[in-house]
Every structure is written in structure tokens, then in C-alpha cells.
């Protein structure tokens, strides 16, 4: 599995509102995550967890500090390189469980492989189906995502992240929309990805259960 370490050094994030005022969200955040580790970003609502997650996958610009994946500063990458990195190295599972509602679940899961061609898609399909089964969605595989409940959509999005085989999974509130049973299953899969498969998981979460198993716990104020 293609995994490299993550070094976040003195990261600061800020937003500018419509009045031109700057709102500092994260200040001087530093942490490091190695392959085989599960890192949890915790903190109160509005503490900047999602912002940090989005910055880690190159979807949000930061105001100071650096993010280095395998020693490569994310800031030096072009937009296209960041997109490629998201698809091949740092799979991103967002809080909204973004799926294309008109596509079937399986098709949504296989989206990351489309640019690699038909062979890659077919190769990834069986793993995706297996993961769906692990998260209880195998009966929904051919459904369009519009028919899924919120929890099911959340689980489906996580499966897409896992099925992407990116080595690193960056996920935002992976257990927020699911009940305890499925939250535990999600945690189990994330741990397996980190510990058993040598991958890396970085998750923003309120879930104490997830925080409890974290190898690296970063708390945001």
C-alpha cells in the first residue's frame, strides 16, 4: 500500500467574512502521523476540524504553516496534482457523504477508478462489493444513492474511501450519521485499514469511541 507519513507544521487557517473581517479558525497546529496509525482530530464544534481535514486533502488554502505528505509540501502542488493525490494517495470521505444521487451505489464507489480505465474499475469492483457487505449495504449495491438513508449514505461514502485503495483515508465525522452498531463497524474497518493493511487514517470526529482507539489524538480548541 502506497503510504507515506504526514507532517503538519504550525498550520493556521482563517476565513474572511463578507464584511472583510478575518476569522482565525486554527492557529499554529502541528502534528505528525506515520503509516499504520489512526489519527483522530477532536474538538468542539466550530474548532476547525473540518477545515483542517479539507486543508489536508488540498481543498482549502491555509494561511500559515505547512502540510507535507511524504516530505512533499502540499502547497507546492498544482490543483491537478492535488486532485491526483486525493484520488491516488489521500482518499477523502466528507461529512456530507457526497454521492451522485442518480448513480448506483457501486458506480459511486468506483468513481475514483474511472480515470484509470475500465480494467482498473473492474479490478476494484469486487473489493467494493465486499466492503459494502461488511457495512451492510450489499443489498443496496444497485440502488441509486438517492434512495439511501443518511446513515446508509455515510457508510457508502466510507466504502468509497476504503475501496479507493489510497493508503491514506482522510474522513470527516465517519460515525456521526450511523448508529452505535454501525459506528463500531466503521471504527473496526478504519483500524483494520491502519493497523492491518499498513494504511493511514486521519479522521475528524466527536466520537469518543473513535478517539479511544486513536494512535494519534489531536485536540483542537
Amino acid at each position: 500500500m502506497n503510504t507515506s507519513n504526514l507532517v503538519v507544521d504550525s498550520l493556521s487557517l482563517a476565513y474572511t467574512n463578507s464584511l472583510g473581517e478575518t476569522l482565525q479558525v486554527v492557529t499554529d497546529l502541528s502534528f505528525r502521523v506515520e503509516p499504520g496509525q489512526l489519527c483522530v482530530l477532536s474538538g468542539r464544534s466550530g474548532s476547525g476540524k473540518t477545515s483542517v481535514i479539507r486543508a489536508l486533502v488540498g481543498l482549502l488554502a491555509w494561511t500559515a504553516g505547512s502540510i507535507k505528505w511524504g516530505g512533499i509540501d502540499l502547497a507546492t502542488l498544482s490543483e491537478t496534482e492535488r486532485a491526483d493525490q486525493r484520488r491516488k494517495l489521500t482518499g477523502y470521505v466528507d461529512q456530507e457523504a457526497s454521492l451522485i444521487p442518480e448513480l448506483s451505489i457501486v458506480d459511486n464507489l468506483l468513481l475514483p477508478h474511472l480515470p484509470d480505465g475500465r480494467k482498473a474499475v473492474l479490478a476494484a469492483k469486487q473489493d467494493a462489493v465486499d466492503l459494502l457487505k461488511k457495512l451492510g449495504l450489499d443489498q443496496r449495491a444497485s440502488w441509486t444513492s438517492a434512495k439511501l438513508s443518511g446513515g446508509e449514505r455515510s457508510r457508502a461514502a466510507l466504502v468509497r474511501g476504503l475501496a479507493a485503495k489510497t493508503g491514506v483515508i482522510v474522513t470527516d465525522e465517519p460515525t456521526a450519521s450511523v448508529d452505535r452498531k454501525w459506528a463500531d463497524k466503521v471504527i473496526e474497518l478504519l483500524l483494520a485499514h491502519a493497523h492491518d493493511d499498513g494504511g493511514m487514517v486521519i479522521a475528524a470526529s466527536h466520537d469518543p469511541g473513535l478517539a479511544a482507539v486513536a494512535d494519534v489524538l489531536v485536540t483542537l480548541d
Binding site: 491537478t80 491526483d84 484520488r87 448506483s104 480515470p115 480505465g117 474499475v121 441509486t144
Partner: protein, 898 residues
Amino acid sequence: MASWFSLLRLSPKTAGPRWAAAALVSGLVAAVSGLGFQVSVTVEDTLNENWRGLYDILVTARGQDFGAADAFGTVDPNFVATGGRYGISVDDWDLIREIDGVEVAAPIGMVGALRRTALAPSLQISSDPVTGISALRTNTFVALITSTVALTDVDEEQTVSKGTGRVWLQTQSGTDANGLPADHRSSGGGAPQGFSPLQTGHDLFVVPLGVLPAFSSNVVAVDPVAETMLLGEQAGAFLAPLVEAPITREPTSEWQHLMDCDAFSVQCAQIGGVEGGFIDAQSVVPMIVNRTQSRELTLRVSIALASESFPELENVDENYDEVMSWLESLPEASFEPWDSFETRIDGVLVPFSSADLSILLPGSVLPEGEGSQAFFSTAVQLQPRLLERPDFVAASESHGSTVELQVQPREVVGPSGLGQWETYEAGYGMDSSVGLVRAFHATSNSDGASGVLPAPIGTFSLSDISEPDVSEVSYVPTGVSGSASTWSVDADDTPIEVLPNLSGLDFITPAPGAFTDLAGGATLRGSTPIDAVRVRVAGVSAYTPEAQARIAEVAGQIALLGLDVRIVAGSSLQQVSLYVPEYFQEADGSWSDLGWVTQEWTTLGAAATVELALSGTTLVLAAAALAAGGFGLGATALINGRRLRPVVAGLGKIGWRSGYIRRRLALELLPPYVLLAAVSVMCWRLGPPNLSVLFLAAAGVAVAVFLAELVSGMRSARVAFPAGHDSGQGIASPAALAWALTRSRFSWAVLTAASSAVIAGLAALTAVALRDGIEQAGHTRLAELMLRTTQWMTVGIGVLGVGSAVVLLLLGYQAERASLANDTLVLTRVGFTRAVQIGIARRQQLFVALGCVVGAAITITAVSVVFGGWLACLVGGATLVLVIGARLIAGLFMGRNR
């Protein structure tokens, strides 16, 4: 609810398109109303200004068949030429004048012809009286002389007549058998007549060059007072001498006082001769003579000298027969061209004019005291020879114009009007089959009207007869002001005017050679000297139903007299194509066709036709435009309705009763549609009456679309997408993803394709309506003017409709943006690069565009099949390109910014 808030704020992206669509369609309704009103006003104004010519009703004798012209609802410009077979009496004309409502009743009839005969040109040859040296520079002159009279017709020289003769002249001294000085002796012979030189004096020879054909000019009878009323004081002023002509028509010296005896010396002498008992004539026909020089006629003499000479003879008289035999035996090849010279003899074409038909051999000098020895005459025969209108039959081939006819030849004639079997015009008047396109009748004999003398008491030129206050659009030929405009085209499509044949026996009626009054007409033609009466109705001005009814009423009363009537008010000239066969004689004697020429004929009922066509076209275009707007508005409403469903569903979930939601939603949806309905009702009340039903329908559409959006919005949100496709056959490439996304949003794709089809179909229908409108309006001058003045309005209506539909389609596209934005979000988070995303978006647009092409192609094909013509395909196709282009640009642009 504790406080008011807008439901639509929960779905903010629907309000903008709704207001924009309603405002757009309201503007469309108002614009269509305005343009329709403008068309209506323009049509009315143009008709009021151009619907009447100088007269309103053309009255002809019953049974006078206009043949092919009638079949096309036209009157050909030869309506004065009836060959005398039909006629209206002066009594009938009086009855017409007495009908209530008749302002002017102006009679006109062709009553005879002025013919100039015995026109004999000559070649004068003299020796120099001082040196005694012959101008021929030779003692013996043996020549082949060719005399040709020619004119230019359709840009080519045409031979009117041609004669050749052989001439032998010899210088000798002494006296001849008669004791006359014999410096020169002469003899001659040869075909056709043998140019036999005459020695007219001591040192002058005159070689007659044969006799020219007789040239004729038509005499037209009018009532000078009525004609002046018809033409106006200024244009009719040339007829004043006729008004003042003596009632008695006895040939007395009083006529000589009325004539310019310097200009018309022969005619003065003739009348004087009657009074003196030298000439037998009982009656005088006064006339105003046309002095217009209409054509250029050239007399050309070519001389070829014999290459061998006859031995000089001491006594010519004794050897005359021998000389003639020798002369006639000379082969034509033995003559070598020597000289050629020409002179203009146009004057022979002008009635009563003198024309010098003599040519002096270059180098000759007229002896002192010798005058021109031309054989010409200003004497004119006044013949009761009447032209008959030409025959036309259906053209054997198509020329691409609306009215196509072929002139029916009765007998081939050349530019002189001579039949090909005739050498001279002597047979004229004896055989009614002679003439290219028209027969004529001689009511008595061909030698002239017995006992009748012409009295030219005035002159005019065609430029004097400028018909005032008549626009070219409403112009109706009067029969007095010249020949019908006729033109051909050369190889470069440059128009060439075709002038009337010299004989008048042609498809173009020549301008009158002289006018006489009805009494003069009766003298020549008998009791029915009138071919047509042109009637102007009193108390008529604007083009109103009342005015038309009044004219119809007067026409009906005239018809009760047993006469044929044709209402020419509201008519206009139209170009017709005529095929003229066998017109030119080639050098080898064969005849070639003149080919297609264009002439303008009066098309009856042009005003009503144009009005109906434009009204119909405007109605169809307006209907198409409003239908396009209505369709777009409806599509936008349905899209918006679907987007309201989640809002409605959400409010239901928090406890809002559906009745309350419906009322609130209706209240908030209503304003844009109230705007549209109000504008429509206003246009219904104030707009053009012929479109009122459309505006009423537009108001109905506003209500219907409002209800449709309300009902659509209130429907419970269904699961938008049923079970998806089997992933086993799933998406394995960006192209497949694009197709899957397009297919999964089938309703949008179908709506877009349907909209394209409707828009393209409406554009095609608009083109068809315009085409049909132009066809139905006809090809008259009036139609051309009306179409020219209203075209920007009618086309504007069509463009407004199609343009509005395109804009509405783009507004509907806004709804698609939400889906596209979600696609972008997901694909970006998954890690699709921007390039890949754009590729997918482009493919989506391509698939939709293909749907548009298919939908529109079906519609355009259907329109083309049903209504026919490539125009629909062309315009529909062009619109399709526009729609697809706009759709693609919108898709890509909006896709880039999602």
C-alpha cells in the same frame, strides 16, 4: 404562523427564472401586439395611398375575352386592341356617364391606322459640273447595289427591308436618240425590282432603291373632355384642339385654318383640293398627331463594282439588250465591295412627317439648281385597320415566374411586320392571319377609308402625357400614354428594352400615332368605336369596405347595361413572363426566338390579396411567437414546480397543512403570472383586432401555467430516481459516466431536446408562414411595396418568438445547474482533475445536443413534409444550430462555474 416569511425564499433559485420568464413573455406579448398593430397601420396607410389608379372600373364590350390574362386574374396592356370585333356604342357610353356615382367615364377605342406608303429611297449620282469628271471616277460603272433599311431591336441590328439591283452606267458624248445630252448613259437591272437609273438632268442620275414597306401608326379615339378629366388638366392639355374642333366634319377651308399648313402642307392641300372639287372626299377626321421619334431607322447603301467591264459602246441604245444580258449574267462573286454609306430616315416612322430618302453618292455634287430627288411622300392613307389583341397560350417550358405565357404566333413576321412569304406589305389588310401575334381587321378596304381625309390639327409627344398624381404602385395602364414596358435581358442579365414592332402587329401595343374624337372614331369604325371605357367613381378616397362597396355597386349598374366590367381599383401591375417565338430572321432566312421577355400586366384585386396575406401571415407569426413563449414559460414553470416540491414537503413535515401551503404558494407564485395576464388583457383590448384572440389565449396561458406550477409544486416529492442500473454493466470510463449522468437526468435531456424541437419547428413554421405570405401576397408592385414596408415587422415577430423561446430554454437550464454543481462537488472530492471533469461535462452537453438535433430534425422534417419547401429546412436548421450553440455554450459556461 407568527410572522410572515416568503415560502419562495426557501427555494430562491426558482424566483428569478420565474420572474424572468414571465417578464420575457409579457414583453413578447406587448412587442407582438405593437408590431402587429404597426403592421396593421402600415398596411392600411399604404393601401390608402396606393389602391387607386386613374380609374376604378374597366368597361369592355360583352364577350370580349381577355383569354389567358383573365385566367390569371389580370388585364394585359393591350385592352384597347379588339380588332373591331367588339365595341361599345356612344349611346352606351352616355348611359354609363349617367349612372349615379360615375365621376369620369373616359372612352377609348382603336379606330384605324395612318399608313405611309410608296416610300422610295434613291441614290443620286452626279459628275462634277466643272471638271466633267464623273464622281464614279470611271467611265463605265457596273455595280451591284444593295439597299438595306435596318433598325436596332433588343440590342441587335435587324433588317427591315433589303433589295439589290445591278446598275450599268457609261459615259459617252453626244446625244441620245431623243436628242438629249448624253454625257452619261445608263441602264440597269437585277433582282428584285431592278434598279433602273434615271437620268433626270444633264449631269445627274437617280437610282431608285426600291420601295420601303408601309409604316403604320394607330389612330385612337377618345372623348377629349372625358380624357382630360381622367388624365388631369395638364396631361390632357394636348387634346384641347380636339375639344375645339368643328362639329361639322365637311372638308371646308375652316379646317385649313386649324392646321399648321407649313408642317402639314399635303393635308392642307388635300382639303383645299376637296373644296376646289379636285378631290372627292365627304368627311374630315381631326386628329392630334404623335410627333415622338420612337425608333432610329437607317438606310444603308452598299456598292460592289464588277471586276470585269463591258467594252465601251458607241451607241448604248442600239446595244441595250446585249448589255442587259451581260449584266444579268455576271456572277455575284465577280462584284467586289467598293463603298458603303448610310443615312437616317427616322422621319418615315412619324405620321405626316417628311423624310428625305435620297442619298448622294459620296463625291457627287448636286448640280446648281438641282434639289434632292428623293421619292418620298407625306401623303398618308387613313385606314380603318384595327389591331386585335395577341393570343397567349400556356408556356411550354417554365421560366420560374408566377405568370408564364407563350405568345401564339399566327404567322411569322420580321421587324417590319411583314409575313415571311411576302415581299411587300401589299397584302396587308387582306389576310387577318398575318402578324406575329395579333390579327387585325380592315373594316372596309385596304386602300383607305373612302372619302375621309385626315386633318392634323395638333401634335403631341409622349412626354406630354405624364399622368399626374399616380404612384407607380397603383398605376393602371390607360391605353394612351405609350406602349407597355417590355424588357428582355442579355447574357449578363442586364435588362434590354423591347420596343414595339414597326407594324404594330406584335405583342406590344405601340403608342398611338394620333388621337381623334369619338365622331372621328365613328367615321372610321362605325357605330361602336369604343373598345373600353375607363370609369372613375365619385366620393371614394380611403381603402375602406364602404369605398369598395360603392365601386362594386357602380360596376354592377354598368354590368346591367350588358357590358363587361372589371374592377381595377385595388389592382397593381405585376411582372409576367412571355415567351416570344420566331421573332428574328437570321441571315440564312431561318427564324429565331426572341425568348423570354417580361411585361407588366394589371393584376386585379391585388390590394385585397395583399391585405389578406399580410394579415394571415402576421396572425401565424404572432401565434407561433406566442406559442414559443408559452412553451418556454410552461417548461420553466414545470422545472420550478419540481424544485418547489422539497420545500413543500419540508413544510408539511413541520406541521403546515397542505391547504395553507397551497394558498401561500399560490399567493407568492401569482405576481409574475398576473403581470403576464394583465399585459395580455391589455393587448387584447388595445391591440390589433386580428390578433385579439391570440392575446386572449396568452392570458389563458398565464392562468394555465400558474396552475401547472402550483400543482406541480404541491405534488409530493417522489423518489426521483428508481432503482439504478446494474453496476455489473456499470460505468468504467469518464465517457460512460457522462452518458450515465445524461441518461439518469433523462427528463432534463428530453425537455431540452423537446424545447429544441419546438423552437426549430416554430422557426421553420415562421419561415413557411413568411414564404406563404409572400406567395399569397402576389408579385405585384403593391405587394412588393407592402412586403418591403412591413418585412422588418413580420420578421421581427418571428425573431421575437424564436429568441424568446431560446432565452426561456436557457432559463430552464438554470435548474440543471444544481445537479451539475453536485457532480462537481463529488468528483472534486473524489479527486477528479478539472480536465477530466470538463471532459465529462462536454460529453454530457454533446449527448444533449444530439438529442436536440434528433428532436429538431424530426420537427423540421415534419414541417417541411407538411408545408413543403427547403426554406423551412434552412431556417429551422439555422435555428437549430443557434439553439444547440446556445445550449452548449450555456452548458459549458455554467459547468465551468458550478
